[in-house]
Symmetry: C2
Subunit: 374 residues, 2 copies
């Protein structure tokens, strides 16, 4: 290959695909970035076999060709190149010559023949959704996914599509987040339900812009394919049966105490309480007790070796006085993700799950199981 | 104790003394911060027995007293308090009650009796220097100090004062940095030479402002005492004989090749070359070859497993063509610290040390030993 491009092109391309570069040493070629010059486009590609990311940019292609360069070194190097025009050319023996100003460097690379090819998509479902919406949905839902690899289904995020409605769900069995959205583009066929690795979803959020541009989604038998502008991401799907989340969420009619509270106020209190970590407990979390009566929410937490905290927040209470104990981290995660000035906290009693909803709309639901303390 | 202060007071005081809080578990009381209310002042103090930092603020003292609070928890907590007035009060049994808005928390603390008292200064030398100047001197010199604790003298920074001239020196025996400065205040007596831990110096730079305010320095037998406004820092001195640095620096008259070069240009080139790290070498550094002739500086570096680089920079050369090989990190450190648009690189030959000076003045000298490659 032989091309002319700019420093900014290289920095942009590398930064997009970098997250898919493998950190493991098991297959050395996967620590590289594939560069491919073809038809006036330079394509960057990296894969760790879980996900693959592709980014194509318009450049001046003098001669088509490919090479694999070491990912870490190449990304550090391009950041340090001077601004302006860069000339890239393959040398004999799998080197890449980089020329800039009066200078040049040569990077030892590898043949692209060793680089794994991408799986082909046998598209079952094709559709599109606004990038800014999908990005927000991911940020609100992914927080509830589990990091425990021994139960793969819970490390994933469920994508449930029926006609033009999309539902995204994640749960680690202690809390559950659910967000609804609307398909913008056509959807063929009209129904699909897949579990996507949450790590993949976070990468999809990263390549998605804050604009209304469409994110194209294609779901195959074992893979899912996302395209946002000049960037594509392919990921495996997680096999297994996702739990029936509808049954877990109590109906609104069962709610006995509906508390309207300012999100920021409750978050700040929860953050202070969360510092009272019980070191004797392996997973390092603090318990927070919420008690509501007469339009006052009392919050208490206590760790014998550190200290205790007691706070009061003014709220609007519809229904009965009650109390409940949560893991403060689960509450904190929800309050950070909810993106609304006020929320409803709906409680049934000390032994039933609490539900957080936004006051403006019901597109987002976050459910937390209580902790039994007696 | 019982006081009223603001959240900002607490955040400021904690942030100043936090660096002296011990991370080691050997003496649990040292992981605490001492709070002392006395004569309308709240004093924060922390020490790891190497250095101690004190910070005093004007607050409303209702009742004098002291307490030691856990450093890490207290500093995380005060950052999360709401803005505004905070009321602090000792409880029975060494607790600290913190009241704010309608809320309160209690932090379990310790008696201040267990907290080590500060060593008394038997002042031999007292003087003062501008904070902004001293801060800059530290930043330019400390980079050359060694991290190798087996030779304590080289982990220190030499402070040499004769009449109104102060000289600061650090060296790890591979490179040496020297900076001259002027005392602003009176100096009694007129001569002193002490080795201060470089870690202490970096903390002194941190507590020094960017203004012309005086930094008071008092040197005792084993300690040094710095005062910048309401903050004091006490540190031990390093015992031992500092090498005679004057003999190491070649006289300007011996220089055979004087190269004038733009600092930024040479730094950027050196940074690119420094990425060619030789993994086989334990200390992970790259060798960079500088070759000068006809107002061109050629820079080359090569790591067989990664690649190679060749760059050219326009320079002004007075004297003979020559070449030299450096450890790129030592050159990079100097070029980052020098704070001048242009430098002189003075060379005697491939086997003699290279000297970097600023073009505007000669207050700063940075010497690098060459690497023999044959």
């Amino acid at each position: 290959m032989h091309i002319n491009c700019t420093k900014d092109d290289l920095v942009y391309g590398v930064q997009i695909v970098n997250r898919a570069v493998s950190n493991k040493n098991t297959l050395p070629i996967l620590s590289g970035i594939l560069l491919k010059a073809e038809q006036n486009k330079l394509t960057f590609r990296a894969t760790d076999l879980e996900i693959a990311i592709d980014c194509s940019l318009d450049v001046e292609v003098i001669e088509e060709g490919t090479i694999v360069v070491p990912g870490k070194y190449f990304s550090e190097m391009v950041k340090r190149l001077p601004s302006g025009l860069i000339n890239l050319k393959n040398t004999d023996n799998f080197g890449l010559e980089v020329k800039y100003e009066q200078s040049e460097l040569v990077i030892n690379g590898h043949s692209s023949e060793e680089f794994p090819s991408l799986p082909e998509i046998n598209g079952h479902m094709k559709g599109s959704i606004r990038q800014d919406l999908f990005k927000k949905m991911i940020k609100q839902v992914a927080i509830a996914a589990s990091a425990d690899e021994s139960r793969p289904v819970f490390t994933g995020t469920l994508l449930d599509v029926v006609e033009n409605q999309v539902i995204m769900v994640a749960t680690d069995t202690h809390r559950l987040a659910l967000r609804e959205g609307i398909w913008e583009g056509a959807l063929v066929p009209e129904k699909i339900s897949v579990i996507i690795p949450t790590k993949t979803m976070l990468e999809v959020a990263r390549i998605s812009g804050d604009e209304e541009e469409p994110l194209l989604i294609e779901v195959g038998n074992n893979q899912v394919y996302f395209t946002a502008g000049n960037v594509s991401l392919i990921s495996r799907l997680i096999e297994g049966q996702y739990p029936s989340y509808r049954q877990v969420i109590p109906e609104s009619s069962k709610c006995k105490s509906k508390i309207r509270v300012r999100t920021k106020k409750l978050l700040e209190t929860t953050e202070r309480a969360s510092l009272l970590v019980r070191d004797e407990i392996k997973e390092r979390y603090s318990l927070i007790k919420l008690k509501v009566h007469d339009d006052i929410l009392e919050i208490e937490s206590h760790a014998p070796e550190i200290g205790r905290i007691y706070e009061e927040i003014p709220v609007f209470l519809e229904g009965e006085p009650t109390e409940i104990v949560f893991n403060s981290r689960y509450l904190m995660d929800a309050l950070k993700a909810v993106d609304a000035e006020e929320i409803y906290l709906e409680l049934i009693g000390p032994l039933s799950p609490g539900i957080i909803r936004t006051v403006e709309n019901e597109e987002y639901i976050y459910l937390i199981l209580p902790v039994r303390t007696s």
